[in-house]
Each structure stands twice: as C-alpha cells, then as structure tokens.
C-alpha cells in the first residue's frame, strides 16, 4: 500500500524535534557524542552545529533523490551520502579551528554512525518533500543542540566552575572534577531524564486529580 504523502507544513514539523520528539531526551538517539563531547559548552555547541549541518544537508539530498534510490540498497546509499557530508564538515572544522578539531577528536567523523541522522533519513527524508524535510531537520538539529547545551553547561559549571570559559563561582570554588570526566556524563544525562520524568509525572497526576474532582462533583450533583 503506497503511503500518501502529506505535504502540509505546520509549526509541528519544526517543533516536534525541539520538544515532543527531542532526539536525545525523548528518543535516546545519538547518545555517544551527547555524552562524550559535552564536557564544555564550546565543544557541545560546535558538535551540535556540525551535526545539524550534516543532518539538514543529507536529509535534503536524500529527499531529492528519494524516487531514484532503489529500495534494496537504500541504507548503503544513505550512509555514503552522510559520510560525504561528514567528510566535508571534518575538513571545514579543521580549517576553522585546529584547537576545536583536536578537542572533538574522532567524534566529528563519528557523526556518520549517529543513529539520529540515519533514523531521520529512513523515517522522514525518504517519504517527504525537500522543504518539509529541511524544516524538520532544522528542528531536530536544534533539539539536539539544545540537549547538548543542557548537558554541557551543567558539566562545565560543576566540573570547572566556569561557563563558556568565564569563571562563575570565583577562585575559592572547589571544582567537582568527576563531572567533566566520563562518569559525569552519565550522571548528568540521567539527572536530566529524571527531571523530565518528574515533570511528566506531575502533569499526569494533575490532570488525573482534576478529572477525579470533576467526576466527584458530577456524581454529587446527580445524587442531589
């Protein structure tokens, strides 16, 4: 059965990726760079922008070629397209700032195997028109970057006492070094997920209690 293409572009096309289907906090995709390069805000920002660039370019190209790519070799085609854009990004970052390139290390090249990008290509770009894909990709990329910044700012603040390289807490602050080391990544991401779970839980409880009170009011009305 052919899936009917829905061409309408709504605000949700963009906003889905930022909040409701946030690739990191909701779908848990592309975790490796999320944990590995978020030990400072600058690294997190650079990684977010690089991933967004690759995501948008590759999904637009895949969306343009979606009728030409044979179904049997689609994954291989997607990977080659993504790898091309990642190679470009890799060389561009190397040209702009060697320091940043060394800080991010192999993780720029590892954007190739970021499941979020391949997932978007398979689930979205292969079924939608280029413009819609681009807007969705922009939203997803923004959501990814925001998630990276959430982690990066907390880890840099606690582990180094600074934000974007500027000291926040002053000289007497004893840095919580473990936060910029690998375990900190797991702990901070876990804490963010706990926070979101808690908000979700509260929202659910609120609606449940209001429903119960409504039902109670209706029942008492009926009795009287």
């Amino acid at each position: 059965m052919p899936i009917k293409e829905d061409h309408s572009i709504t605000a949700d096309t963009f906003l889905d990726g930022v909040w409701k289907d946030n690739p990191v906090f909701v779908m848990l995709l592309g975790m490796c760079p999320v944990l590995a390069v978020t030990n400072s805000v600058v690294n997190a920002l650079a990684m977010g922008i690089a991933t967004t660039f690759v995501l948008i370019c590759s999904s637009v190209l895949i969306s343009l070629l979606r009728k030409l790519i044979p179904k049997e070799v689609r994954i291989a085609t997607y990977i080659v397209i993504i790898a091309t854009f990642v190679t470009i990004t890799d060389y561009v970052i190397q040209a702009i700032s060697l320091e940043l390139y060394n800080a991010l290390g192999a993780f720029i090249q590892l954007i190739v195997v970021n499941c979020m990008i391949l997932g978007r290509a398979e689930a979205y770009a292969s079924k939608n028109k280029p413009l819609k894909t681009m807007i969705n990709g922009l939203g997803m990329g923004l959501g990814f970057t925001i998630a990276l910044l959430c982690l990066g700012s907390v880890r840099e603040l606690l582990g180094n006492g600074s934000l974007l390289g500027f000291s926040i807490f002053g000289a007497q602050f004893q840095p919580w070094v473990v936060m910029i080391l690998p375990p900190g990544g797991f702990f901070v991401l876990g804490s963010w997920l706990l926070l979101f779970n808690w908000i979700e839980e509260r929202k659910k409880n609120n609606t449940a209690t209001s429903k119960v009170s409504h039902a109670g009011a209706a029942a008492s009305k009926g009795a009287s």
């Binding site: 590995a36 994954i75 192999a106 195997v113 391949l118 690998p182 779970n197």
Partner: protein, 193 residues
C-alpha cells in the same frame, strides 16, 4: 610497560580506556540490548567478531589509501567495509549456525551503526598501529565491550526486582547505573603508569 607493547595495547582498550565506559563509544547497544544477560552475551560476541574483521580490513585499506594518496576517502571506505563485514557475518552465521542467527535477529544489522566499530578503525589509524598492534587493539576493545555490556545486563536484571519510584524507572536509572560502573572503571586509569 612500554606503551606500544601488545599487552599494554590490549589492556588499554580492555580496561583503562574501555570503549563504552571511558570513551563513550557504542552507547546505543549498551543501553538498548543490555536488558537480558543472554542477549547481551551474544551481542557482545557478534560485535567483537565484526570488530576483528573490520579492524583487519581497515588496516589494509588504509595502506592502499595512503599508497594512492586519497586519504580523504577514508571515512567512506571504512563505513562501506564495516557494512559489508556485518553483512558477511550475518550471511555466514545464517549458513553455519542458524540458531545463533535467530537468537540475535534484529541486532545483527544494527551493529553497522555501532560507533565503537568505526571508532576502533579510526583510532587505530590515528595511532598508526601495525598489523599485530591493530589486532591486539581490536581484541581488547571487543573484550572490553563484552565486559561492559555483560556487567550492565547483570545489574539491570537485578534492577528489575528492585522497588523504584515511578519517576526513576527506565532509561534514567540505567544511565545512573552506567555512571557508577564508569566511576568504578576509573580505578583502572592508573594501571599503566
């Protein structure tokens, strides 16, 4: 221990710079397939096998690329090789051991997008390891992956029985566990010095 000896390279990838817990490579299968001890085992072994094959091929491909001076194609070549290696493992497993093939099921093709494998190929190129060193490195990385995912699966099976508040169920608690595991692996950091 000299840093380029085979045993050091093995231990380095196995414990001190464990691919999952210290370098954050292969987090997706680590969190996704560690629900049951048995599947975690098979996943770890299959990944190790693909790691060995792709590391070996990556070594020879890099020699070719350097010879023809087309290093900018490295990434594309590596990922193509890994995808075919996974396909190869899948096909041979289907032929020689159908039971194992069925047990792994969907997880096999997913190995392609495991960053530990591409990461391994890239790191061994950056570090300019020779053939023997590359093999030691990939064996160590594979063993480290198996160790991490099996430990995690054991912990999560225990966690199933624990009485947790609703808020902290699911991925959040797994990440906290992974953090503690990673914290304990930091103890190995001083091993080489």
């Amino acid at each position: 221990m000299p840093t380029d000896s085979v045993s050091f390279i093995f231990l380095n990838a196995f414990l001190m710079n464990n691919f999952v817990l210290a370098l954050f490579l292969g987090i997706c299968p680590f969190l996704g397939v560690s629900g049951k001890l048995k599947t975690a085992w098979s996943m770890g072994l299959a990944t190790t096998l693909v790691m060995l094959i792709s590391s070996l091929s990556a070594y020879f491909i890099n020699q070719l690329l350097v010879y023809f001076e087309i290093e900018f194609l490295r990434l594309i070549c590596y990922i193509a090789v890994i995808a075919s290696a996974v396909q190869l493992v899948e096909m041979s497993m289907k032929k020689f051991s159908p039971t194992l093939f069925r047990a792994l099921g969907i997880f096999l093709p997913l190995i392609t997008t495991n960053c530990a494998i591409l990461g391994l190929a890239l790191f061994q190129t950056f570090k300019e390891y020779n053939l023997i060193q590359s093999l030691a490195y990939s064996t160590g990385a594979g063993a480290g992956f198996v160790l991490a995912i099996v430990l995690m699966a054991g912990l999560r099976e225990k966690l199933e029985l624990a009485n947790l508040p609703n808020t902290s169920q699911g991925a959040a608690m797994s990440l906290m566990l992974a953090g503690m595991l990673s914290l304990s692996f930091m103890g190995f950091a001083g091993l080489g010095n």
